[in-house]
């Protein structure tokens, strides 16, 4: 089985200490990619009779670079207005170097618990929190991660956890609204 300590021991590096340990399981995008985004055009021109074989090319989206961290706990929660929800946010992080994690929320959410973590040598961090929704809306807990590698290179990444306290009737209302072809924005205009 997979070990919990994954060490990337660099070979001879071209620049002193440039390569570092990267032991994180990755691919933040792969598991949550919507079906509509998952398949490229079918390109095969041969019959494929294998029962399991797929003609859909499995790819994750090409995401932007950032700090070596990912969310291990669920990305979304439901809660009622006024109720206090206890949860544990769990991150997979890079064990080498220094990782700083700070938490904040959208307005409309109240957060209780430690909101700043400085971590070194850890592969995971569990952050217990209590969240209260002050209004019926979709809000987010923001997770800001900054990683300073052993060579001093800083990378950052933002993650977010959805806190949904909206009325369940809202999706029906959304569907009833006719889509518009344009998002019309009124310009600041000078006519002369």
């Amino acid at each position: 089985m997979k070990t919990t300590t994954h060490l990337y021991a660099p070979e001879t590096e071209p620049r002193a200490g440039a390569a570092v340990v990267f032991a994180l399981a990755a691919a933040i995008c792969a598991a949550w990619m919507p079906e509509a985004l998952a398949g490229d055009a079918v390109r095969a021109n041969l019959p494929d009779i294998h029962a399991i074989a797929s003609k859909e090319q499995a790819k994750s989206p090409y995401a932007k670079p950032g700090a070596p961290a990912r969310l291990l706990s669920p990305p979304a929660y439901e809660l009622s207005v006024g109720d206090r929800l206890s949860l544990e946010l769990e991150l997979g992080i890079h064990p080498a170097g220094l990782t700083t994690v700070s938490l904040s929320t959208d307005s409309g959410l109240s957060l209780t618990g430690q909101q700043l973590y400085q971590l070194e040598g850890q592969q995971q961090v569990v952050m217990p929190l209590e969240v209260t929704a002050d209004f019926a809306e979709l809000g987010y807990i923001h997770i800001h991660i900054e990683h300073r590698s052993v060579t001093g290179q800083i990378t950052a990444r933002a993650l977010a956890v959805a806190m949904d306290s909206r009325s369940k009737a809202l999706p029906l209302l959304r569907k009833a609204a006719a889509p518009k072809p344009y998002v019309e924005m009124q310009a600041t205009e000078v006519i002369r």
Binding site: K2, A18, A38, Y62, R70, P179, M185
Partner: protein, 574 residues
Amino acid sequence: MRWLGLQRQQGAKVLLVPIVVLGMSACGGGGGLPEQPATLQSSSSAKANSEATTTSSSDASSSSSVPAMVTDVSLRGTVTYDSVRPQVNGNQVFLDYANVLARPARGVTVQLLDSLNTPIAETTADEQGRYAFTVSPDRSVKVRVKAELVSSNYSVFVRDNTQSNAQYVLDGSLAGSGSSAVQTRDLHADLGWNMINLSYTSERQSAPFAIADALYDSLQMVVEADRSVSLPPLDVFWSTRNVASRGDFSLGNIGSSLYSTGASAIYILGHANNDTDEFDNTVVQHEFGHFIEDKLSRSESIGGAHFLGAPIDMRVAFGEGFGNAFALMSSGGRLYLDTSGVAQQSGFGFDIETNRFGGGYYSEGAIQSILYNLFDANNENADNISLGFGPILAALRHEDYVSFDGFTSIFPFVSSLKSVVPESAAQIDELLLAERIVGTGPYGEGETATGSIPFSLPIYQRLTLGGSVRACSDNVIQEYNGLGVRRFVLLEVPSSGRYTLEAVRVSGIQPSDPDFQMYRQGRWVGSSEGPDPDRETWARNFNQGVYALSVYDAFNTDQLDSTGGNVCFDVTFN
């Protein structure tokens, strides 16, 4: 911001214009001119001539009743948007709201609409954001600016994925065209930022136009490199609700700014205080670089998260390294900057001229360094070459590269580039050596860097009919796209027919789950991902020639830390 204050004041006066004009028209005043019906020129001809014209069947007769009145009004103006740029102060990377500039909305489509919102003319803003129409006098019209870039080479549209994919437009007010020879209408898209609250408090109008403007730079570079390029349409989705949370894209839960090959679309983050990328031009251009590679060349990158310094699948390393290099070629700078955080006052960046992420053909940092040094005019250390983008694009589009039997990586690219600029082969090799890449030819033969994965070399194994190779898989570096998760096998098919591929576990984790993915000259053929433990069998028809096979263990790609590990299979072809 000073500019905005002025515009808002003047904008209040503007509101009087349509009211006065419409009032006069309704009362039969204003010289007794009837409302002028207009016909729409074809948009292609309107765009071909920088000045679009509306015509009227009644123009001649009506103008004769008022000899002093002009027959045509030149309605012209400038379109601008508020631009805020990422900046660096020591280790802090931030959006510099103290220095907001009004920049021209270059290349966007500008339309003239009648009172029913029907387009009657269309043109394209120039490099200064200027547009011009010719319109009948005293015609009630409004100017609409569409967040799009359209030419014979490309068509890019900025849309809102959280509002049924509606396209962003900036509208002026409905007002009479007047009776003077010239009427000027300047339109501006506001930032929406409140310097007192240090937050966005009004509509973020300038964001879609900032995205379009970043892409304008990239598109100009590509078209200048090859005027024959014809890109498929591209949708770029941005919303203030696009947040770094995974889930339903129509709700804004896009997880990251990204390019999707399946949807052939770019998604850009926009949730304030979490991560906004509309003004991080290098992030936008990075994702656009993926589109360029995918549509003008080929890409077998499997995507996924990447952390710059990790040894990763060479296809991902090349694609991401190209994305980073392309962004900085487009932007004209050397700093990749990505802001995020509370009030967009944090983030990170790197100088592409200084690779601190390690070398190797599997290093995104090494690839971006090589590609940028091939491009840029600055020469330093092992960089003794300045090709510009033309030869790089030519290499990516070269038939030898596009039809290459193996997978995309730095190796086939360099082979292709050497055929484009053979006189620069020695300088190209210098750059590779500086990044510790010694493999030669399109298959990287003789490569010595293992990236700490002993079984990762040779980069390709060759499998012939009746033969067998040992292929191992390990997630020790990272799940899904880490170096060593997938082994590459070139399958040599002697003649078309039905054959069987089989992988059987011989050592390592148990249970294992070997799987195959297969390509032919960069085109997806299919995958075999059965659930049976320790064995995968794939019987199918093959054409004569070479197939590129990726062999891996499913437990090393499932995103679960608790599964997977080192495992080896014997792969046979019969």
